[in-house]
């Protein structure tokens, strides 16, 4: 009988998350207390010297990237199927292999369509 992992095994994750959040909170609040604060137009610029900055970072970008982001989500979700399959690879045998080949075949058909449509080509 192999050991079963339980929610208790996730305690280190919780501790690590608490440390990460705690450090960020500590560092930010300590910086606010300890550092001197100066305000001014020059002081609040992102870069003190170099090229003049224009606009802010939150500007809309091109629609061309939208399709790539969406296709990433779809293929990302398809990859999720591979995890339980890989864990059960030996138990499923040849049938499981054929199942996955059919699945990946459909996915590759989608990828072929995407490539033929020239979605990935950004001019």
């Amino acid at each position: 009988m192999e050991p079963i992992s339980t929610p208790h095994d996730y305690l280190p994750v919780l501790v690590q998350a608490a440390i990460a959040v705690g450090f960020v909170g500590f560092a930010l609040s300590a910086a606010a207390f300890l550092g001197p604060r100066l305000h001014g137009r020059k002081k609040e610029e992102s870069f003190e010297c170099g090229i003049e900055q224009q606009g802010d970072a939150r500007r809309p970008f091109s629609v061309k990237y939208l399709l790539i982001a969406i296709l990433f989500v779809l293929f990302d979700v398809e990859v999720i199927f591979l995890y339980p399959w890989a864990v059960n690879f030996k138990a499923l045998g040849a049938v499981g292999f054929v199942e996955m080949v059919v699945f990946v075949g459909f996915v590759l058909a989608g990828l072929y369509y995407v490539l033929r449509k020239g979605v990935m080509r950004i001019e």
């Binding site: 079963i4 929610p7 399709l67 969406i70 989500v73 979700v77 999720i80």
Partner: protein, 110 residues
């Protein structure tokens, strides 16, 4: 050890999972009716999906039946496909009518 896991899963009564799931579903449903921004409406629909997923997972764990969790898995996949198509429709809507207001979608009527 085995007994410890069983009690760990069952410490929280199933009713509380059911109530939490209903509460999240109610908030999501209210949000769909409340907001006019299409992207928030889509997010509220995701919230409702997740409340149902939580309910399925809770029943599956308490009943020790893995089929409920496979169901949740498929719901997540369908939600991902739905979101991608929904968001591309949203982007096309913004480009064509220059708005993300759900009320603008009445232009679909013929």
């Amino acid at each position: 050890m085995d007994q410890g896991i069983i009690t760990a899963i069952r410490t929280v009564p199933l009713d509380h999972y059911v109530l939490l799931s209903f509460l999240l579903f109610g908030i999501g449903a209210a949000g769909v009716a409340l907001r006019r921004n299409t992207i928030i409406v889509l997010m509220c629909i995701e919230l409702m999906f997740n409340s149902v997923n939580l309910l399925l997972a809770a029943f599956s764990a308490h009943h020790s039946d893995p089929r409920g969790q496979v169901f949740v898995f498929f719901i997540m996949l369908v939600a991902a496909a739905e979101v991608t198509v929904g968001l591309s429709i949203l982007v096309m809507m913004k480009r064509i009518v220059d708005s993300v207001d759900v009320n603008q979608l009445n232009r679909l009527k013929g």
